[in-house]
Amino acid sequence: MRRAGPAGGAPAAPAAGARVQIHSSLAPGAVALLIAALLIVFLIVPVGTVIYVAFADLDGGFTLAHFGSFFQLSLMRESFWNSLYVATLSVAFASVIALPLAYFTVRFRFRGALAIQTLGVLPLIMPPFVGAVAMQLIFGRSGSVNLLLGEWFDVNLPIMEGLNGVIFVEALHYFPFILMNLVVALNNIDGAMEESAQNLGASGFRLFRRIVFPLAMPGYVAGAALVFIKVFDDLGTPLVLNQTNMLAPQAYLRITAIGIEDPVGYVISVLMIGFSLFALWASALALKGRDYATLQRGGSGLARRKLTPLHAVLAYGWITLVLLLVLSPHIGILLLSFGKVWSFSVVPDGFTLEHYVSVAQDSPRMIWNTMLYSGLAALFDVLLGTAIAYLILRSRLPFRRSLDSMASAALAIPGVVLAIGYLRTFRGVGMPFTDELLTSSWVLIMVAYTVRRLPYALRSCVAALQQMHVSLEEAAENLGAGKRRTIQRVVVPLMAGGILAGFITSFMTAAVELSATIMLTTSQTNAPMSYGIYLYMQSAAGRGPGAALGALAVVIVAVGAYLSHRFLRSRATALDQQI
């Protein structure tokens, strides 16, 4: 019999299913309503406005004319296919990078774990468009690598040519999404699943292909879908690499060049939203109805082995290669930030500190802004994410599914689209208690970060809660803990790993967000670092200071992420030891 809660009083009706029932207490409903209200104001209404404009004629009536004119433009059709091509190939390359790394981490006892963890976060702490600048200097036609290759072997690799460059930069930048999700999923597989397959004769790659990978599929698909959508709506990289015949740059260019009233920009926005939604829907479909609560905490995970010499060569070789690739934009940025002139040479011609001096004078405010916006956004994200995950999986509220859909829908909304929606919707709305306009306040940037990063935090919270068996909570309730105490003492501690992952991902990706930032930054005082870097990078002369600011951003975000990781990690391991 389930325990009646202190607030509700009335005993819960026996549930037909195995789900824990939140009984008639008002708290879950109130929390759900609050979250729904926030999502409606800051997501549904602005996006609705964008969609409305795309379909409205001058008198506000329904029309498809804007779509007609869109498809008559061959540039637009080409952009559509280019975006699709780049996103698909980026996912493929990111998978090729991430799969072996994830496998090594969970499979072997070895000292490369730190390197892999570093690999997992390093790319995320630098905006991809910053990386793109460095990548062009290193891998471009007259970059360091090709200069050396030309000198030694007389070959020139077209790594950064056209769309190749976008794919290369995006895959290297976004593979951590697949890596992190995959590692969590692999670590949650019950060791007996693998042992039983070995017992029946499977080993090596077949074992991985038939048992381990399919069981980790939810993690992989979640990661792959994220990469796809991120690449699809990334604006900075194609702009910096001058590949504007893709959807996101076209939307941005239409709206900045022709104005916020230009309907074609809205049509592109709607198409991008539709495409992303379709990708999300397809990935959800692939996972439908599968019960993956495979490992209860305290059970043993996959067995870790000692590296055989062959595996050691493969593992360290692959890690070194990926590490070099992943580090190359960082090294490039570092060289650029200290370099006097870097053009048609392997390394810069001379070194100087002057870029840092000019950044130190111009940008402390931006650094502080980034920490503030991203930190707050990540905090709100894990709070919302934990609450929504709990409501989805453990309550029987009638509209709990729509909460999930609403929060996840943010994933399908490109930053530019959300920003345009905000600018139109909150036109003329003032901030409470100040005489500032909401559209010119930093609060709106922070809100945009929160809304845009919520799906990541939510997914990791949901995954963590999904893999936790209901009986663990029932046991706590059985021993006299009410709903709130159970959440506090059992649910949240056991979800700590997922919440931690959510916080870190939200924080770091918010810190390097550019597409909404470009639209919503109205003054130097409320500009975050990513905006500052982008501004610098616009001119050849600004590259040095831009790189210096980029390097500072990398260091600061890395330190912040490392500290929060250490803090939460030590709590999580302490908990693991208690179990």
Binding site: A197, N199, R206, P214
Partner: protein, 362 residues
């Protein structure tokens, strides 16, 4: 059907770091035998089972299956089928796919796999569930899928890790019988890990009792029950009365026992029993006769007088705790309809049959 094989462990020792989990394991399991490893948790029984399956590596010793040393053979080449405690059915495969897995790994032709899966599913009465996913099955059905998946590969040896622990009591008894029948039908050498002595006694041909990584005794259920080799086995298998005594040789056929609680008792000397020294005597509660205080005392029993301190009615029998001197003796008396048990504080006579008393040397 394959030939039945023998499983032998020779001097196996294993440790995790400094903790010794298995010591000097010497064991011969006969072809076709249903063999139980019985012990409390942490006794090393599951470790030994996983060692046979190849998931653990012994630091020393040999493991032979059918006369071949397989200590260095990886798990996937051993052809030793194991049913896991939590079944470990793969959630992303249907029942059919789960059962077919091992056959596919053996690269059998599709038609053969189809026949074998169908035959195995029929053997465990799950023909109609082939298309289901494991999470759509009840616990008992999942158990049978796990079993089918393992026997489909026709393993040389079948390993069962606490196979019944996740089932409810009624189903457990039923599955126990089913397992036994199936094992007889297939004739596979089977090793079965359990902490439940009743389960082991009712199903196994022979049992090895383990504690702290050491084999305590190997024997048929009858041997273990009637002649426990040591204190641990005596206590672990069934209920028993254990009393410390000093033993003296009295004559050629008789020994004399001195116990602080029972006084001096003369007993016939048993072959293999110690002749002198500190020992413990033990006897089963159900062998004890409880009579009214003034009953006739014959010579086949050792008679003691005591006071009833506890009475438990268990249906088939009544369990008494009887204070004798400074110790307490448990006595089970068959219950017959209409009779009334002795009440607490009544004085009774206890008769212990001389031939049922066993010695355990310390």
């Amino acid at each position: 059907m394959q030939d039945k094989v023998k499983v032998e462990a020779r001097n196996i020792a294993m440790s995790y770091g400094k903790t010794q989990v298995l010591r000097d394991i010497d064991l011969v399991i006969e072809p076709g035998e249903f063999f139980a490893l019985l012990g409390p948790s942490g006794s090393g029984k599951s470790t030994l089972l996983r060692l046979i399956a190849g998931f653990n590596q012994a630091q020393s010793g040999q493991l032979l299956i059918g006369g071949e040393d397989i200590s260095r053979v990886p798990p996937w080449q051993r052809n030793v089928g194991m049913v896991f405690q939590n079944y470990a059915l793969w959630p992303h495969m249907s029942v059919w796919e789960n059962v077919a897995f091992g056959l596919q790994e053996r690269r059998l032709p599709k038609s053969v796999i189809g026949q074998k899966v169908a035959a195995t599913l029929a053997l465990v009465n799950l023909e109609d569930y082939a298309r289901r996913r494991p999470n759509q099955l009840s616990g008992g059905q999942q158990q049978r899928v796990a079993l089918a998946r393992t026997i489909a590969i026709e393993p040389k040896v079948l390993l069962l890790d606490e196979p019944l622990s996740n089932l409810d009591a009624k189903l457990r008894v039923h599955m126990r019988e089913e397992l036994r029948t199936l094992q007889r039908k297939l004739g596979i050498t089977t090793i079965f890990v359990t902490h439940d002595q009743e389960e082991a006694m009712t199903t196994a041909d022979r049992i090895a009792v383990m504690d702290q990584g050491v084999l305590q005794q190997i024997g048929t259920p009858l041997e273990l029950f009637d002649n426990p080799a040591n204190r641990f086995v005596a206590n672990f298998v069934g209920t028993i009365n254990l009393l410390p005594c000093r033993l003296r040789k009295a004559s050629r056929d008789m020994v004399s026992l001195v116990s602080s609680s029972l006084g001096e008792i003369e007993l016939p000397r048993l072959p293999h029993a110690p002749e002198a020294g500190d020992v413990e005597i033990c006897f089963r509660p159900h062998a004890v006769t409880v009579c009214v205080a003034d009953s006739v005392r014959d010579h086949e029993h050792v008679w003691l007088q005591g006071t009833v301190s506890g009475v438990e009615f268990l249906g088939e029998f009544v369990r008494y705790r009887i204070r004798v001197g400074s110790t307490e003796i448990i006595a089970d008396q068959t219950h017959h309809a209409g009779t009334t048990p002795f009440t607490p504080e009544s004085t009774v006579n206890l008769g212990i049959p001389r031939c049922e008393i066993r010695f355990i040397s310390n």
